[in-house]
Symmetry: D2
Subunit: 335 residues, 4 copies
Amino acid sequence: MTVRVGVIGTGWIGGEHIRRITDRVGGAEVVAVTDIDADRAARAVAGTGARVLATGEEVIAAEDVDAVVVTSWGPAHAESVLAAVAAGKPVFCEKPLATSAEDAQRILDAEARHGARLVQVGFMRRYDTGYRQMKEVVSAGGIGTPLMAHCVHRNPTVPESYHSEMASQDTAVHEIDVLRWLLDDEISSVQVLTPRPTGKRFEHLRDPQMLLFEMVGGARVDLEVFVNCQYGYEIGCEVVGEEGTVRLPEVPGAVVRSAARTSTPVLQDWVQRFAGAFDAEFQSWADEVAAGTPTTGPNAWDGYAAAVVTDAAVRALHSGGVVETGIKERPAFYA
Amino acid sequence: MTVRVGVIGTGWIGGEHIRRITDRVGGAEVVAVTDIDADRAARAVAGTGARVLATGEEVIAAEDVDAVVVTSWGPAHAESVLAAVAAGKPVFCEKPLATSAEDAQRILDAEARHGARLVQVGFMRRYDTGYRQMKEVVSAGGIGTPLMAHCVHRNPTVPESYHSEMASQDTAVHEIDVLRWLLDDEISSVQVLTPRPTGKRFEHLRDPQMLLFEMVGGARVDLEVFVNCQYGYEIGCEVVGEEGTVRLPEVPGAVVRSAARTSTPVLQDWVQRFAGAFDAEFQSWADEVAAGTPTTGPNAWDGYAAAVVTDAAVRALHSGGVVETGIKERPAFYA
Amino acid sequence: MTVRVGVIGTGWIGGEHIRRITDRVGGAEVVAVTDIDADRAARAVAGTGARVLATGEEVIAAEDVDAVVVTSWGPAHAESVLAAVAAGKPVFCEKPLATSAEDAQRILDAEARHGARLVQVGFMRRYDTGYRQMKEVVSAGGIGTPLMAHCVHRNPTVPESYHSEMASQDTAVHEIDVLRWLLDDEISSVQVLTPRPTGKRFEHLRDPQMLLFEMVGGARVDLEVFVNCQYGYEIGCEVVGEEGTVRLPEVPGAVVRSAARTSTPVLQDWVQRFAGAFDAEFQSWADEVAAGTPTTGPNAWDGYAAAVVTDAAVRALHSGGVVETGIKERPAFYA
Amino acid sequence: MTVRVGVIGTGWIGGEHIRRITDRVGGAEVVAVTDIDADRAARAVAGTGARVLATGEEVIAAEDVDAVVVTSWGPAHAESVLAAVAAGKPVFCEKPLATSAEDAQRILDAEARHGARLVQVGFMRRYDTGYRQMKEVVSAGGIGTPLMAHCVHRNPTVPESYHSEMASQDTAVHEIDVLRWLLDDEISSVQVLTPRPTGKRFEHLRDPQMLLFEMVGGARVDLEVFVNCQYGYEIGCEVVGEEGTVRLPEVPGAVVRSAARTSTPVLQDWVQRFAGAFDAEFQSWADEVAAGTPTTGPNAWDGYAAAVVTDAAVRALHSGGVVETGIKERPAFYA
């Protein structure tokens, strides 16, 4: 069975996902899309046979749409997801699931009413080969009980529109999800330290930032977010357990020796870094939707938790102190 | 335009490629297949909509087949390729293009008569990210003129059916192609050294072997082929130039520290190692076939050169001495 | 000129240094020693020709003692150092220089009265090849202005006598010194986080700990101290600047591939890890003492700063909050 | 007991060893030296208390000389070693032990007559930490029976006086020794391949060269010698066994990320690369001489084997073919 997908939002990331589903994912095709810019929507599906509809409601309601992908801008995500859940259709929502914990809660409530999980959130790192290897090692007890994690998230530069809160909302949110998954635990508190800012940024931006998380079980995480590091895009993660450590592999690159240096290239953006993860994420989603089984990827609870922790991180940035996330216990529904 | 593909031979590798074209490659679909085992053919295309035909001739002749993939057993490759060229259809042939230099020559002649290149040979390493990075460095002059290359090709174990000549024919053939490409030169002579054989092999097999190649331009290559190395599948390649060296990156894996060791996993087979290369290879082929431009991948000349060098390597294994390949100059047609 | 050295304290580290000066360091010899255990002192110099004296005072006063090494237990260091300064003799003091900031201040005052620097403190990491390479990169502007540093200090296990405060006093003190040196700045505040403790420790010990330092110039440092990590002894350090990063190299070890893993050994103790640094440290000290120039190694101010920051770290461990070190400005005398 | 050493030859390497024995080695001192240039000899021992004698004979005969170090120019080595053996004094001879197999044989005969081993040859690599780790892994059966080894020996540039035969005599000789030791076997034949020469050399020099060795037990070794590789000094060695491989670690260096590259420095000469090995070599020799036990380092047989193989390699370079070394079986005296 081929999963027929409707896509809401055909901006850059929407376009990427349309091409991915069309070209790289087996057992799925895009049949309908919508965008506030109908021309852009038409361009995004040129040659695919998919049709352009006027609204997200129409996409969700279309009889030939089996499942929905939400790639509109963040503040619109929650409404589309709620509508899809109301229609009983599986929905893949790019992060964030919601821009407030309240909206995320409404989605949890909707799924509970529906009685089955329908939502997957686009935290693609869980599909990255390196993170999956880390997860296997941790889950198999290869390092004992996790006690700490050290992470870095670096980006060469950001545009002027990037503001200090986005370090948590847009950037750290990926680690917030992947650490919850790696450590199989919730984040109970956040603190944000602000090192001396780099001179190589727009004046309004606080960069770098150091985020400190405490997990409910007591593990501690430090995360450097540095979005104007100049030299490249780099993701680092090490989990430290009672008996050993496991670290994300470095990105491979041809090793050159010349002029008294041994060197390898550094990637320059997340598109290169996580291309394989995006493919694997959508393939897994399509396979599970086709099979009619609940998706095993990040779910609405994960989206909710990310929203709660992100909110706390923003408050922590402003206050300078430790902020409790107040995260609830994970409902059995999401166990 | 979607390229409609006919597949001749649906054994293991044929099945893999059918799934790849169906699920992972954009702009291509399998519409017809054949196999000497019709049931196997039917199973290979179950759920894809492709039909099973009785013979390769029928596949090639089918009106809705735009391009042909040949994945039958090696000795049958040449006839199918010749038939496809006669029909004027682009053909992707798994290695080997032919099992003798004479058969490969017939394909060169046929393409010459046709007046345009139609054949691509399945040397997937040219699409591996690491090799491509090496090629870029070499081509950009990053290490100066290449003078040497050091290579290893290791496999954990092989079955009893694997015989000593296959070290060249099946295993080293990948390096034969990729080194010609990396060094942009032809191989002029081959020597095969036979180190003390490992005890961990079937008695009839000479393993490991050390192949020594000289290029027309004078560069020298050594290649270890060790197909019962026990510990894993590993490909190594370093090109040494007048001003520097470039080396294939190691396969990334989560780094574990425990029990007084730092360690990473080693892959166990070529399917894992080159999965991404196979995807990229077919995507590139499909794109170029769709565009109607000659494919830029390994062509019939490359298949011919591989056959000539492989033949020489087998003779060198038997004789113990240096064997000239007698390779001709590359025709302008393949420049 | 050979520097004639008197050693006060011939326990384990004193014995090590006697052998080092005797066997590995050019231009220096041990001529007199003392210890509270005279037999131990005699054993420590057996075969060296050095004589055993009754007290540290006698060692310092001996006419043929050009310079003094203090390797008694920590609480006795300050008095010996003060006596050596009073006698106008160069003195190398193992860390700590003093066990309180007050005692360290007395040494600063004594040197000021003497009018020249005489004291070197045994922070050997500044002589480690890897750290020196890092320092050169930072000093040469290779990474731009430093903004952050990430460090780990791991040890396989510690005996029951090791208590929670020692994580700062004995263990982190090495990073406290080397970071001040690498970042060329003083530490203004300390915070100590206490992750979930490992089960593999004596009950009374808080392990691991995460120390957070802020430098006067605003750079931020995180330091994991984990003294029962089981798997080995490991030191990690990365400095992050405005334009790049520099990282301590990993300890080299033969790379083994077997049983589906690639692995290297991990060291098990600091003696192996810093053997070369200790040799270089003493050679440098002996050379500078022989030359009659002020030693360029860590000086009394560095010992004072370490004491002040260590005190603050202990208070931070107890309080859980941020503790200002109140470090003074570095006197011109120590510039 | 302090070993009193006489040194014959105070050129560059002789001066290095005098400083090493004086400053870095415990339990040894230089008491007498000689050189054809008496002024140079005097400068070499300035400040050490050693006296300058007129001839090597006088040095060997001196009553206060317990052991002799031969660091004159190569053609003079054998006579000094023979004289030391005749005098019954332990002798450390820089490589080569002799410049012909005949001269080396005379030393074997002399030691046999003397009835005990007195000679150590200066193959310092056996004392390099990385090679020692490799040896331990191989000896412990960690990779199974060795079948192959792959080696590289690279140098940035050489002066005009370096000629093609020196690639074997001066450069490859280090691998010839260390491979015999690692593989615990003798070399039975040699072949020298001559890749396209680099343009970055004096015209008369054949560079690079590829040496191929076969061991008596059947293992095969390939060795790249490239003495004008431009980018740095690099030694590589991998031994491949029936169950795994072991590789010399890379030289550690601070890891810098900047300008889209991750890089580490490459050393530029063998003095830096093997400084630690030289220290360990002399310390071990001094300790064993002091203990009166036969030295466990490379002995006269090893010097003989190196001469035999080097001779064969030079003939192989000239002939282009495989040259049998004709190495005898190792006498029980050297087992």
